[in-house]
């Protein structure tokens, strides 16, 4: 088999597919051109140059992933208009009596929980402004709170199927359910989050103080005023709750994740439009669809085709053989290698192309490592590495850049070096914890 794979390496299709992959990834990393544009052109090249025909290209696209992403983006996009996120953030600050160190912990928890079930970027987009207000009232620097929210967002998003796009990719491709993610990842994520909050406390929390009158101002905030649409609030809570329950019972319901998410999005939009006259419905629905990150979705479309091309051409099978040779076919060493390499790479480049490429590569290892069951720890390694790795540097994850962008616009400087000097060691520590967990749980 290895000989067959090596023989493929000189075929024109192999060379073409590999060249398209390298060029696509290089341009994505360079950030000179929008990544969706690059991915679509790469996909076009895969078809036009004969690596795949159109039918094969369409089969390479994981519509379950696209549907899940689109559905959840729509649900969150509508739910955010209710003011729910800001309400929870202020209540959390008041529940710890406006103690700055307590708020540091409370907002970490709020961010992590929201990120586990909703999109990270939207979570921080809605929590960061309220964080600014709270810190302004307390007269404490906002930077520590923003950094801890970044960490918590990436950590929390690792815990569930829907918390982070890499998990959606992995879950869909490896047929891992929502429950499988919760059972296998939530425990270690809870440990990592706890350790992270302890570290945050000793780095920043113990030095944060606020005068009693400032704390009184925070206690005097009226969180209920953040709720701008009560009907939408209740609809959001019901729909998000129903969608999560449906994910939990997806196997019994014989439903795929995309069906659940898109149906939930449809019902959410219906409920949002109900109180309004018919002529306003189109405007509301159009607004809801504007909340979908079409750039991300088309980026995925193009990426699936490009990766499908190299898989069809045999590159991933060849890389799989090399990986088995390098690790001696040992599942544990393979898992740790995937964990650490995906963490380091995710810290510096976009993790989605990496995960999209690793998925078929890992699948190709099945026969060498003992079948699909032997691959399970590798999936968790990939998920932990790719998601937690985003905490390593300022460019490691979209939510990092989102927070930094808002901060800069509001006069708070986010230096790549200053952030990374704190973030990289903490990310590596979290990966070490993840490795210990994998060793204990699977090996």
């Amino acid at each position: 088999m290895a000989a067959d794979a090596a023989a493929h390496a000189t075929s024109p299709m192999f060379v073409t597919a590999t060249a398209i992959l390298i060029a696509t990834y290089a341009l994505i990393v360079s950030e000179r051109v929008n990544r969706a544009v690059i991915a679509l052109i790469g996909a076009g090249a895969v078809i036009i140059l004969g690596v795949l025909d159109q039918a094969e290209a369409i089969r390479a696209i994981d519509f379950n992933t696209l549907g899940l992403l689109a559905g959840m983006m729509t649900i969150v996009g509508v739910a955010r208009k209710s003011g729910l996120f800001g309400y929870v953030a202020i209540r959390a600050a008041q529940m710890v009596r406006a103690s700055p160190a307590g708020i540091l912990v409370a907002l970490s928890l709020v961010t992590a929980v929201f990120s586990a079930f909703l999109d990270n970027v939207t979570t921080v987009l809605l929590l960061v402004p309220v964080t600014f207000i709270i810190c302004g009232e307390l007269k404490v620097p906002v930077y520590p709170f923003l950094v801890t929210e970044i960490f918590a967002g990436n950590i929390g998003g690792t815990a569930t199927l829907i918390g982070d796009p890499p998990n959606i990719l992995i879950g869909s491709a490896a047929h891992l359910s929502f429950n499988a993610f919760v059972v296998n990842l939530a425990p270690v994520i809870a440990i990592i989050l706890t350790l992270q909050m302890i570290a945050n406390h000793f780095i920043w929390g113990i030095r944060l103080t606020a005068a009693p009158e400032e704390k009184t101002r925070v206690m005097g905030l009226q969180p209920v005023e953040m709720i701008v649409d009560r009907w939408l609030l209740w609809c959001s809570l019901v729909i998000i709750g129903a969608v999560i329950v449906a994910f939990v019972f997806a196997h019994q319901l014989h439903l795929e994740a995309a069906t659940i998410a898109l149906t939930g999005a449809g019902v959410m939009m219906l409920l949002e439009t109900l109180p309004h006259r018919a002529h306003k419905h189109a405007e509301l629905v159009a607004h809801a669809f504007r909340e979908v990150e079409w750039i991300t979705l088309f980026f995925f479309v193009g990426l699936f085709v490009v990766v499908g091309g190299v898989e069809h051409a045999g590159l991933l099978g060849l890389l799989g053989h090399w990986l088995v040779d390098a690790t001696g076919g040992d599942p544990a060493i393979t898992a740790y290698g995937i964990l650490w390499s995906s963490a380091v790479l995710s810290a510096i480049v976009d993790n989605i192309p990496f995960v999209a490429t690793m998925i078929p590569l890992i699948k190709s290892l099945g026969p060498s490592l003992g079948g699909p069951e032997a691959l399970v720890p590798l999936w968790w390694s990939l998920s932990l590495g790719a998601c937690l790795g985003g905490n390593g540097t300022l460019v490691g994850a979209s939510c990092n850049l989102m927070v930094a962008g808002i901060a800069e616009k509001n006069g708070v400087r986010f230096s790549f070096l200053k952030f990374s000097m704190v973030a990289m060691p903490m990310m590596l520590a979290s990966i070490a914890v993840a490795q210990i967990y994998l060793m204990w749980r699977f090996f």
């Binding site: 207000i133 302004g136 009226q222 808002i406 616009k409």
Partner: protein, 152 residues
């Protein structure tokens, strides 16, 4: 008709080193929406007006897009706004003036001024094309007076 024909020449201006307190006094005394800010050589730098002044009293994050739906949750504390003004009144208008403000030229047609009033609801500065020296301002009152002059 061009802007030169309807503008108010040699208008009241703010220097970039003037304090926010001085700007506030000038705006409220003369009921101006905004005033042009110039440098030491009289070159137009930007506009500073009541919305820029009020913007100094509100957390910046609350003015950026739709990140925060409202500030009703902050509650009622009149002393807080006065305290905030006290903390910013010594800062200079040069720091906070709108440097992206549209500038017209003496030969710009009046219709362009009318279009900009409809879009931006603000007084417009008129400056020399080559030197950027401020030569006048046009308010919507100037335009309405010019348009309605002679009408019954």
């Amino acid at each position: 008709m061009t802007c030169a024909a309807i503008m108010t020449a040699d208008p009241l201006t703010l220097k970039e080193g003037d304090s926010v307190a001085k700007a506030a006094e000038a705006l409220t005394k003369h009921h101006y929406i905004n005033l042009p800010v110039v440098d030491g050589e009289g070159r137009f730098l930007g506009m500073f007006g009541i919305y820029d002044l009020l913007g100094l009293l509100v957390p910046r994050v609350a003015l950026a897009g739709d990140l925060l739906p409202n500030l009703r949750f902050v509650g009622d504390d009149p002393a807080a706004l006065r305290a905030k003004f006290q903390s910013v009144k010594t800062k200079t208008v040069g720091e906070y003036c709108d440097r992206q403000a549209v500038v017209l030229y003496p030969d710009t047609p009046e219709i362009e001024a009318v279009r900009l009033f409809c879009l931006r609801h603000t007084t417009l500065a008129v400056a020399e094309r080559e030197t950027s020296k401020l030569v006048g301002i046009i308010s919507y009152w100037d335009t309405i007076r010019a348009v309605t002059a002679g009408a019954p």
